[in-house]
């Protein structure tokens, strides 16, 4: 009883001790903020990584791939059918994207991915990142009339509108075609305009043109028809300045894709595609790399269709597992069943392993460093506690003279340490949570004061700093801080417990 009374009174009357726990407060607050932000980033990143990658990827080790996706899918189902929810064949091939802006040709190295528009949406969050609401519901490679998102549908805060997107669609395509026709008539030349079909320009001598499979129709009218649809990563078609996206081309414009064929040595093939939508995962690595086209067209273009059976080659099968299924276990079973020299089977975590590991490593190192700060605070508490014990020597003598035991006196100081820890860590908790809650306002304020953007959406493709507060992590941080406060008070408390009452009473 007296212990708690005295702890409480000491807490209320010794402000110097409160000063000693400010470092605990700051340490706890910083740890909470850092962990929340890191977890937010990791989560956001994993979401986006996982958004394009399905749970499991069954890949061929060669670019040529393997024939007959259906047969393979059947085999996979036979091995691990009970855990599999959906599968879709894909063809992934490096390629080149060309499009014209003004009079300049842009060339971008890309990853061309052939997807099955019926099943792709079932294995990953792919369609969630598209810009047309209808495409998000049901993926289609047909150009939409209009109605593309002007406001970023993924932004859960204020974001700058993409006004240019309001024009996208058939409307844009018709306007561009009319403009081009007009210019042609005016100049009598065949100067290419943005959105103009490249293959229609007679003066244009494309060295790849000969290898085109998808020969233009005799009467191709860009006002009425489109080439094969392609979905571009948004980073390929736009750039961002001060949070505002500027588009180099819009859905409705035509682009040219150049690919290697199968066979050794590979030949180069090229064809026109019409941009039908943008893919925006906000992972710049993906958004500025991926071009999605219908798998059948890609197979035809690359000569991946076996003329005797009519079945196409694919080089990957994306597998989505049922909820609760163990990804690694299924992977191991598939690995055991398929010849490893031909097939690489990975979970999405495996394929992004180094990236995820790096983030985890960063978090771990930050935590160790910050915990060291709290440890330093522990030594501060130790020093101040020694002072308090010396100052309270006589009081300890009095308590002992009144019959308090050594352990009773010790528990006063241990309890005091615990109380200080609770106050310090509690203040840190409140401070940390408030900081996390208002982190974006704070970042803005800091940006305004220093003139530097603390969080630049140009870099991160997020509008806000993502944060997630994990109660378990917060619990561990609190526990660690309390433990350190108590540990730091053990030595002074022992000293107080061992004081001889007579000498303590004589102490002046």
């Amino acid at each position: 009883m007296y212990r708690w009374l005295l702890c409480w009174r000491y807490l209320k009357t010794r402000y110097i001790a409160l000063a000693s726990i400010i470092s605990v407060t700051l340490g706890v607050a910083t740890m909470i903020v850092v962990n929340s932000v890191m977890l937010g980033f990791t989560h956001e990143m994993q979401n986006r990584l996982h958004g394009i990658l399905s749970d499991l990827i069954f890949q061929s080790r060669s670019l040529e791939g393997f024939p007959d996706a259906d047969w393979h899918m059947e085999q996979i189902r036979r091995v691990a059918g009970e855990s599999i929810e959906a599968m879709t064949p894909t063809v992934v091939v490096p390629g080149m994207l060309n499009y014209q802006v003004g009079e300049t040709w842009m060339t971008r190295p890309v990853q061309v991915i052939g997807v099955d528009e019926r099943t792709q949406a079932r294995v990953s969050d792919f369609s969630k990142y598209l810009q047309h609401p209808e495409n998000r519901r049901q993926l289609s490679f047909e150009l939409r009339e209009g109605g593309y998102d002007v406001i970023d549908h993924q932004a859960d805060g204020p974001s700058l509108p993409r006004d240019e997107m309001s024009l996208a669609g058939w409307e844009h395509r018709r306007r561009a075609a009319r403009l081009r026709k007009m210019l042609e008539q005016l100049n009598g030349t065949s100067e290419a305009q943005p959105g103009q079909s490249l293959s229609e320009a007679p003066a244009f001598t494309n060295p790849f043109e000969r290898s085109e499979i998808n020969e233009p129709l005799v009467q191709f009218d860009p006002e009425k028809s489109q080439y094969t649809g392609a979905i571009l990563g948004i980073g390929l078609a736009s750039f961002r300045r001060e949070g505002q996206d500027h588009f180099l081309l819009l859905p409705g414009d035509d682009v040219k894709l150049t690919l290697p064929t199968v066979g050794t040595p590979p030949r180069i093939v090229s064809d026109n595609f019409t941009v039908v939508d943008f893919y925006e995962s906000k992972m710049s690595e993906y958004d500025s790399n991926f071009v999605f086209v219908p798998i059948r067209v890609l197979q035809q273009l690359r000569g991946m269709i076996d003329p005797s059976t009519g079945k196409g080659y694919v080089n990957a099968i994306s597998i989505k597992l049922k909820p609760g299924a163990d990804m690694n276990e299924v992977r191991d079973r598939l690995r055991a069943a398929f010849a490893p020299q031909y097939y690489a089977i990975e979970t999405w975590r495996d394929s992004q392993g180094p990236l995820l590991a790096a983030v985890n490593m960063e978090t771990a190192i930050l935590n160790v460093l910050l915990f060291l700060i709290i440890c330093v605070a522990g030594f501060g508490i130790l020093a101040i506690f020694f002072m308090i014990v010396v100052e309270k020597t006589r009081d300890v003598g009095i308590l002992k003279a009144l019959g308090a035991s050594g352990s009773g006196v010790m528990s006063i100081f241990l309890g005091y340490g615990l109380l200080l820890g609770i106050v310090g860590a509690g203040m840190g908790l409140v401070l940390g949570l408030l900081f996390v809650k208002h982190i974006n306002e704070i970042a803005d304020l800091l940006g305004r004061i220093t003139g530097h953007r603390v969080f630049d959406p140009d870099i991160y493709y997020f509008y806000k700093i993502p944060t997630i507060i994990d109660p378990l992590t917060v619990g561990w941080i609190m526990f660690g801080a309390l433990l350190i406060a108590v540990l730091a008070s053990v030595l002074p408390a022992l000293r107080a417990a061992r004081l001889h009452p007579v000498e303590a009473l004589r102490y002046e």
Binding site: L5, K400, G403
Partner: protein, 324 residues
């Protein structure tokens, strides 16, 4: 009975190391015959405490059930030796002290500074352990008990009053008085009995004339008030023996007298045995019996210097300091 102030004490005066005193046998209060409050018993106008008030108060101590037979001492000290070490030099403080304290007695131990009287009190009060010798309380040795039992004795059996009051500065007067109660009981136990304890503490403080000072911190009280609060604290657990270490050492003579009278009254009221250490003869004179400590031994006591006793200085009574 004689008025105590008529006694003349020259024992252990500042100019003598040896004690000699002329004291009539009638001046010694016999155990079991508590002294009547002296006529000069008075307190400040504001908080007058009279013996009458005390005797009429509801404060009734539970009579101690002493297992000792009448005539046997309540507390008996034999051959107590204690020395302190300072920079590898051993300084003997007590060199074989024998002392008997009867139940209900008010004993004063006088001696020069450094004569070891405080050390003796600390040893009796279980604040320290002797190098040699025994302390027997109610026929039971208490000098070699395990720590937790000694803690218990300090808490329940002995009440300590110090020269410098030693109240805890963070607590109010009432909380200070309640401190021994809290120390001796678990949180739950204290909580259950808290009204009772609070009433006891408040009654004690009322008795001490501090009823209006319950919520004050020690630094807001005067010296006399502090000492009275300290006495209340010493008594709150109803101890059998009150050990007072220079209780008036820091007070002006009038306040000191007032404290002493309070102690005398309380002894009667609470069935206390009081052992007081002092170097002030006028204060010691208010006790029932005075023993003198010099050079680490009980040198003499007033009663032993009666003519017939003085003739047999080697008698057991002389050596043990028992008044008969």
């Amino acid at each position: 009975m004689n008025k105590p102030e008529t006694a003349t004490h020259q024992c252990c005066s500042a100019f003598k190391t040896d004690c000699d005193a002329s004291q009539s046998a009638e001046n010694a209060f016999l155990p079991g015959h508590p002294a009547i409050a002296p006529p000069h018993f008075q307190l400040g106008e504001q908080h007058r405490v009279t013996a009458e008030a005390i005797s009429h108060s509801k404060l009734r101590a539970v009579p101690e059930e002493t297992s000792i037979k009448s005539g046997e001492p309540l507390l008996s000290v034999r051959g107590l030796v204690k020395s302190y070490r300072k920079a590898s030099v051993e300084i003997p403080v007590l060199k074989g002290v024998d002392l008997d304290v009867q139940s209900g007695e008010f004993l004063a131990i006088v001696g020069q500074s450094g004569s070891g009287k405080s050390t003796l009190l600390h040893l009796i009060g279980q604040l320290d352990q002797p190098d040699d010798g025994t302390i027997v309380l109610k026929n039971e040795r208490i000098d070699n008990l395990p720590t937790h039992l000694r803690d218990r004795l300090r808490n329940r059996t002995f009440g300590m009053v110090f020269q410098f009051y030693h109240l805890l500065p963070e607590l109010t007067t009432l909380e200070n008085v309640l401190m021994p109660v809290m120390i001796g009981r678990s949180l739950w136990q204290y909580w259950r009995e808290r009204t009772e304890h609070r009433r006891r503490a408040m009654e004690l403080l009322e008795l001490m004339g501090l009823g209006h000072r319950l919520k004050h911190r020690p630094h807001e009280l005067s010296g006399g008030e502090l000492q009275r609060a300290a006495i209340a604290r010493a008594l709150v657990n109803r101890p059998q023996i009150l050990l007072a270490d220079e209780p008036t050492g820091n007070l002006d003579p009038a306040t000191g007298q007032e404290i002493l009278n309070l102690l005398r009254t309380l002894r009667q009221q609470e069935h206390l045995t009081i052992v007081m250490v002092t170097h002030d003869h006028s204060i010691a004179a208010l006790a029932d019996r005075i023993v003198c400590l010099a050079a680490g031994r009980i040198r003499s006591e007033e009663a032993s210097l009666l003519p017939d006793r003085a003739a047999a200085p080697a008698s057991r009574q002389m050596a043990t300091g028992v008044v008969r």
